[in-house]
Symmetry: C5
Subunit: 86 residues, 5 copies
């Protein structure tokens, strides 16, 4: 009977939504993190090759970071929804 | 008895197909997303190196994006099938 | 009682082997797909840099593709074994 | 009845926290490991291209490794918390 | 009752250790495989650029392959332990 109650608690929609929230932010942070690393790597290499172009490179780097960051924020929103919205 | 009913609901084919649909589109969007990023990166670098070749590069970039996008659409189709077709 | 029967169906070796088959071909296609993309990228860049070396590059590209493809076929074989062999 | 007791043991919060700890350090070591590989690759190539700049490159490489290593330590902390803190 | 027995068999520590062994070698072979591919790619490109340096490149390549291979052997050891040690 205790096993049933435990299984009920663990397999309940609320309990599984916690797992889903963890997966959402965990996997959802993977891509944007790698992506920002890649684009910043490119920007830093470009600045190293041609330091006079720093303003344009910086502007475009921040623009691209914003889009990648937004994807991470989508995952954050979904994770918080899964955790706090019934 | 409630535990059994909950387990029945969660482990039923319909419930698991929802999980499968999430995995299908989640993992299926991973590859094409990275792939389009890689090929667009190559295309942008090629245009930066040789701006006069922009038309050919753009044409081939769009051609390659179409094939990568198609893979994402396969995953979308499978996810929608898993969700809505019994 | 219905819950028990459902759990029995879902957690039975046959049912789990279906899951294993999906994982086998799903994850087993990941690596060779990326690998063939990488090696073909290198081959195409090499041909673009030195078009006269196309025959040797093509020969070695096909040789390497064959080995990568073979890994995908291993995954396919395992997936089909899991699905159809009891 | 034995099945219930086993399910109770395996699906209990303590048992699942062991699984979570494995996932935490397993996935949490993935990113920093790859990241340190990438940044050390860049540092070694830079030293190979311009050996006179070794001191600055080494300094910045160690700085960047420290930040990447810190992320792995976060995962280690979470894994140990999940394992030993009730 | 059959469902309980099946669940007991599948969720027993021995059954789950089989799953863990599969995950251990499956995920543990991922990183070293990619890593050896990356380092051999670098070695081959270096030999192509400067064939006279082949002995040193080959020596260092084999050294690095040994360390990457060792990581795969760790995963193999853990997988065999999970499978055969109670």
């Amino acid at each position: 009977m205790l096993g049933l109650i435990l299984a009920q608690e663990i397999l309940s929609p609320q309990a599984l939504s916690v797992l889903g929230a963890g997966l959402a932010i965990g996997l959802g942070a993977l891509g944007p993190g790698i992506g920002i690393g890649l684009l910043a790597s490119g920007a830093l290499q470009a600045i190293g090759r041609n330091p006079e172009a720093t303003p344009q490179i910086q502007l475009n780097m921040i623009l691209a970071i914003a889009f990648a960051e937004a994807i991470a924020i989508y995952a954050l929103v979904v994770a918080l929804l899964l955790k706090f919205v019934a």
